[in-house]
Amino acid sequence: MTKSISRRSFLKISGATTVGLSVAATLPDKFLLWAEEQGMVKPTYTATLCEICFWKCGVMAKSLNGRVVKLEGNPNHPGARGRLCARGNGGTGLLYDPDRLRSPMIRTGARGDGQYRKASWDEALNLVAEKLAAIKKQHGPESVALFTHGTPTDHFLPLLSAFGSPNVGMPSFAQCRGPRDVGLELTFGETIGSPERLDMANSKVIVLLGSHLGENMHNSQVQDFTEAIGKGAKFIVVDPRFSIAAGKAAHWLPIRPATDMALVLTWINVIIAEGLYDRDYIGRYAEGFAELAKAVEKYTPEWAEKETDIPAAQILETARLMGKNAPSVCIHPGRHATWYGDDVQRTRSLGILMALLGSWGRPGGAFFATNASFPKMEAKPFPESRETLNGGGFPFAGAEGVTQAIRSSTIDGKPYPIKAWIVTGTNLMKSIPNQKETLEAINKLDFLVAVDVMPFDTVMLADVILPECSYLERHDALAVGKGKSLTVSLRQPVIEPRYESKPGWWIAKELGTRLGLAEYFPWKTYEDKIKSQCQHWGVDYEQLKKLGTITIADTAAPFITASNPPVFKTKSGKIELYSGELKEKGFDPVPQYTQHQRPKGGEFRLIYGRHAVHTFSRTTNNPELHELCPENVVWVNAGIAKEMGLADGNYVTLVNQDGARSNPIKAKVTERIREDCVYMIHGFGTKSKALKKAFQKGADDQGLVTRYAVDPICGGTGMRVNFVRINKEFIDA
């Protein structure tokens, strides 16, 4: 890599990737552009990994004259298979977003008013280190908490641990997969993983509850989904909204929101009652069948029809469809599972259904991760720390932490004070419910430092902002994949960091050094670290650089066979249809249905989801993606709209049960949703003025999620428990 000249003219000629090109790069822009058009400049391809979402697909980045012109899927990478989703294709929009954070910044005005001054890296890093050291001295290291999501975690979590704090929170647990992972672990002794280990491509029947594949655009998962369509699989899609997936379904069950468990438990009952379950499989691998059968007896289709609003006959028919096609039935356990506060139990009921159909460990169902792994490397052990707040007192909270528990401790100082937050890779204002509480906690802090690429809402609340370069400009930790086979993939820079941004590893190491923790960063560059790791693992680094991904041969054992018996890491060593562990902690050992509050007259349940071209809030300002979906709309049932005199495209505001009011948002008047709920895409309505495209575009669902139902088992925050009224706004569209 030669030094970039991108600061002069980034668009046309930035850091050139080869020596030959760097000479060329000194020639006038015009000539280079001309040469490019004549096809005289050959593009170079660099293998790396996408970070527009957490699927981390393999990318082949095409650059011309040091400008990244296109991103393509890496055929070697199992998550990409040579293809990228719209967001991955639009990754250069982040790289070249004019609103990117360009240099370190120090707050000069009041918190939240967006006044900052530029600072040098030295000044900013010194200030952060000084503040953290002072807080450590006064309150102990554990009073510094880290909120993180995505690859920055690989650099900042070690920094936090070395610093001596155990307090980390990732929205991926309590706002996302937490309940699902816990539910499946309690049932099978392990979770489904991310990427989910579903053998959808070979399923005959696929059952989706909520999971809105196609809009939820996890690359290879959607490829499998469409593969199944191509092979003629039947889909049962349970969703109050006629989603893209519902549009492909043999059975769309427009369920009354918050009643999924009633449906699943009834399915279970029917499958048991009609003997459609896999007797051999259950007999061999599961325990608690009798208790299960008894506990679900009461859930009849007639009863469920009243709860779920789905005709009893259709419940029966779909149960039989599953039974008939077992075990080649894929019950998707969901991913964003934090819906109503009883989400562990809902996922457990799905797990039980999988077990009854014998699809866990079977083709067309769920497959097993490879057993193989890379040898551990010696590293300096982290210091002992005080007990963590991560668990938030929930018996089954996971290591990713319960974000809102750290937030509570920050507010009330119990059991001990939290005085500083490091926030990286997560936009807390958007990702965790009840923004008032988040703001209250932030206002209590002595110090907030944000490491981010873009000036999103949370970043603009920080005392010091450290600009990380985008994923196309840096090395990150090797990504080890445990899907069917063991894989290792590399993220490496395609061009040099633009502006004064720096890779996360560099920021963490520099901070570590200033905090006297240099021994934890015993390498000079991250590439050195990766190289020695590769050596230790017996992976050819040069090969990895070229291919981007290496799959270790003969490491797959995906399905149950005579020579590959399943291992269940539960207490009993079996699939636990009845969970002793839950019983012990005072929870239902077999999931039981409880009715949730329903909307009152004039109210609608607020539900939300994904748009195929956006990832949460993080892509809303990306020029390549913004133009395809600049703002979200609120889906309102056509009949209701007619009653209200609401026309498609009218602006409305939504006001929730606590009086929280949304930005004006366009109504999508549609037959595609039930009457009792309204739907919007998550992530919009940015308040940060520094985002010129996204500022105030659309409405923020999180602003209306002032209430959340906490799952007592794991601490997940059910966020679909808010009700809104629709107010017409007299703004002309």
């Binding site: 293809r83 294709n89 959607v222 469409t226 893209i244």
Partner: protein, 186 residues
């Protein structure tokens, strides 16, 4: 002599827009302009609904009104392989071709002024690659190949499935075919 065509298997499309973005990046299409789009249409009333997803692009018509209406010969149908292409340096930007195309497949390139459109990624097929939208299509809904080769994916897809073209009655003889249903009754 290849006879290039595209088959769009609508069953497998999920309206993910990967094709839309990939096409723009591959072909340096200016902001807010597009060579391909995705139409999502729903018929019926709740809860009896039917959805159609359809990606659209230039049909590389065998009977191309855009070419017929071009006064300068900038738009032409290439004899060897049937692609409808543009000689950029000839185009005066009169927009006749935009008005002539029943599929609204063309636009005036805001940066360059010429009447741009999908080229079937001619520069990529020349290198033996698939068009960018096909290469990235998440649903493998877009299939590209040579109609003259009976073993090509497009030939097979057309053989095995009932297919239609858009606005057949316009008489444009499109080379983009749409598969909506299974050929075999289920």
């Amino acid at each position: 002599m290849p006879k290039y065509a595209m088959v769009i298997d609508q069953r497998r499309c999920v309206a993910c827009m990967a094709c839309v973005v990939a096409c723009k990046k591959e072909n340096e299409v200016p902001p807010e302009q597009f060579r391909t789009r995705v139409v999502e249409s729903t018929e019926g009333t709740y809860p009896l609904l039917r959805m159609e997803l359809r990606s659209e692009l230039c049909n590389h018509c065998d009977n191309p009104p855009c070419v017929y209406n071009c006064p300068t010969g900038a738009s032409y149908k290439r004899k060897e392989d049937g692609l409808v292409l543009l000689r950029k340096n000839r185009c005066v930007g009169c927009k006749s071709c935009l008005a002539a195309c029943p599929y609204d497949a063309r636009y005036i390139n805001e940066e360059k002024g010429y009447a741009d459109k999908c080229t079937f990624c001619e520069h990529r097929i020349k290198e033996g690659k698939e068009p960018a939208c096909v290469a990235t299509c998440i649903g493998k809904s877009r299939i590209f190949g040579d109609l003259d080769d009976p073993r090509s994916n497009v030939s097979r897809a057309l053989r095995e499935n009932h297919h239609e073209v858009l606005l057949e009655s316009a008489g444009t003889k499109p080379r983009v075919y749409y598969v909506k249903k299974f050929s075999k009754p289920e």
